[in-house]
């Protein structure tokens, strides 16, 4: 009787343990899948300055909101239960309100867990994302207009965004002032996206993983290698002597076609040519 009891007790114990273990395992599966899903941050959500790589961020951030509280412009928010962002983590949306890039970076100072890297001392070194002029079909500057707003509001004007001149083929006589973002300076603050005058911004701050291409390790640009070596590495440089117009030379260091003034049959002053014609046909 006693033995039977102990066997039945043991069975009961094993059954209970198995049941508990399976229930918890099921819960773990659900949790694991859910964790995988929310690991991908929506492209519109930007982490505060100094945020470490997203995967590490999710293991470091304790979701205390101290960065949110110390942000003097109330830009940062904590993700709520209904957001598609990993719950409780801080973020901002550039189109709604962009980072003001405080010099003393209070949000990073407030972080107790190292999710925001304290080695970030100069806000210009922040890389919250990368601005990308994502729609050339609606960007007013691409239509030949002088909107320039993204360029003007950029805290690193002429470094992070420059206006590059291109020929306007529509009018034939104007320039296009093309906003070009430079990843070596852009902090991803989102001022440009916020300020874009269109209904939907043509320039947007995207996560680096979406915004940036990456060359293969093996890939080399010939002209850069040539500059590094100080000479051509393959064949000796040759002038395009047969194809160039008379009096023109070609500069391989980037200037392109240049005029060799000593060798030009025409005067640099166009009036001289006109005068010569009137002299010949009085």
């Amino acid at each position: 009787m006693k033995q039977a009891n102990s066997i039945s007790n043991r069975r009961q114990f094993l059954a209970d343990t198995a049941r508990t273990a399976s229930a918890v395992t099921l819960l773990a599966f659900g949790l694991g899948l859910y964790a995988r899903q929310v690991q991908s941050l929506p492209a519109t959500a930007i982490r505060p300055p100094g945020a470490i790589a997203e995967k590490n961020f999710l293991s470091a951030c304790v979701r205390c909101g101290l960065c949110v509280r110390d942000c003097p412009y109330d830009i940062l928010k904590l993700a709520g239960p209904a957001d598609t962002i990993s719950i409780g983590t801080p973020y901002f949306e550039a189109r709604k309100i962009p980072c003001e890039m405080c010099d003393d970076i209070p949000c990073v100072k407030a972080c107790p867990s190292g999710a925001l890297d304290k080695d970030l001392l100069d806000i210009d070194n922040a890389r919250m994302g990368l601005a990308v002029l994502i729609d050339q079909e609606t960007c007013l500057n691409f239509q030949g207009l002088r909107c320039d707003v993204c360029y003007r509001v950029c805290p690193l004007i002429d470094k992070a965004i420059t206006l590059d001149l291109q020929h306007n083929r529509r009018s034939g006589k104007h320039s296009l002032f093309i906003p070009v973002v430079h990843s070596d300076a852009c902090t991803g603050c989102g001022k440009c996206e916020h300020a874009c005058v269109l209904e939907e911004s043509a320039i947007r701050v995207l996560p680096y993983t979406l915004a940036k291409g990456e060359l293969g390790e093996h890939y080399r640009f010939g002209w850069k290698e040539k500059q590094k070596a100080g000479k051509s590495l393959v064949t000796p440089d040759e002038q395009h002597e047969f194809n160039l117009p008379k009096g023109m030379e070609y500069d391989y260091d980037g200037k392109g076609l240049i005029q060799n003034n000593d060798d030009v049959p025409f005067s640099s002053n166009p009036l001289d040519s006109l005068n010569r014609q009137t002299e010949q046909n009085p």
Binding site: T20, V24, L31, A35, S59, A60, V62, C64, L66, G88
Partner: protein, 298 residues
């Protein structure tokens, strides 16, 4: 079961309503004032404490951090940061003094929700539901660490109603009411004391953290016990009472040593015979006859 209409009726009749709800009222005061302190800044611009229960800063100097979060972060593969470690240390020492699950009964905002569910369950005589093992929470606790390691993120924090609700209150997220309702309904209809008493890994963690904690409830006057069962009825972890209250004949001391006692003090409130009071773990000799002589009882 008790012959009284509701647990604690005898105590109310003997000592008055206020005295018979003393610890309950103090706990509600503690639970609410913590959130009032956190909300003083956004509401009134007064800096006393900022952050939330995960990690906070008092008067801009004293850091407090949740050790459960620190551990999850470690399991997820993040290195230790000094501020977080200091905060964790302070909090750990605090709970080692007052009792680990004081977090559950004096701090956690969900306690009010599950207490209400338990009370309504008693009042409307809602019976049945799923029965979980009291050990389940330790399995869940282990699972949170394993999942942190497997996913490389604090996976539990994505789900944790405790974290979501306390954060939601402090940072004004309306949608946390869904979570509050879910826990309430779960405790009311699906499982008695289901969340706090069986599932929640936060409580499980704090119970382990402060196994040797100092402040404990003691059934000092257990000789006076008239077996009215009121303390068993109100206790959210009723299995912890018996060893202390009925331990005399086994030569056990009167102190409730189980790490799952939340030090909520409800047993002290509802006992008309003043059997229980707050004491400490070292005052646990079973040989001190408190009232009368113990041989006579056995």
């Amino acid at each position: 079961m008790s012959a009284t209409i509701y647990p604690g009726k005898a105590a109310v009749e003997t000592y008055g309503w206020l005295q018979a709800h003393k610890w309950l009222l103090l706990r509600r005061l503690s639970q609410t004032s913590i959130f009032v302190l956190f909300l003083l800044e956004p509401m009134a611009g007064i800096w006393i404490i900022k952050g939330n229960l995960a990690s906070s800063l008092i008067f801009d100097v004293l850091p407090l951090s949740d050790p459960f979060l620190l551990l999850q972060s470690l399991f997820a593969g993040h290195a230790l940061e000094t501020t977080l470690m200091t905060g964790t240390l302070i909090v750990t020492v605090f709970y080692l003094l007052v009792g680990g699950r004081v977090y559950c009964s004096w701090v956690c905002p969900l306690n009010m929700v599950t207490d209400l569910a338990a009370r309504l369950r008693g009042k409307f005589k809602i019976k049945g539901g799923i029965h979980f093992s009291r050990q389940l929470r330790y399995w869940v606790l282990g699972m949170t660490f394993i999942m942190a390691t497997v996913t490389g993120t604090m996976a539990w924090e994505l789900f944790s109603p405790v974290s979501a609700v306390q954060r939601g209150i402090i940072f004004g997220m309306g949608s946390i009411w869904i979570i509050v309702m879910a826990v309430f309904v779960f405790d009311l209809f699906i499982s008695r004391h289901g969340w706090c008493g069986h599932l929640c890994p936060v409580g499980a963690f704090y119970s382990i953290l402060a196994i040797p904690s100092l402040v404990r409830v003691s059934a000092v006057n257990r000789d006076q016990c008239d077996d009215c069962m009121d303390c068993f009825t109100v206790c959210p972890e009723k299995q912890v009472i018996n060893p202390a209250l009925k331990g005399q004949e086994f030569n056990r001391g009167p102190v409730i040593l189980s790490a799952n006692c939340t030090n909520c003090g409800r047993c002290i409130d509802v006992c008309a015979k003043e059997v229980f009071k707050f004491s400490h773990r070292f005052k646990n000799s079973s040989h001190i006859p408190v009232v009368g002589n113990k041989e006579a009882r056995s």
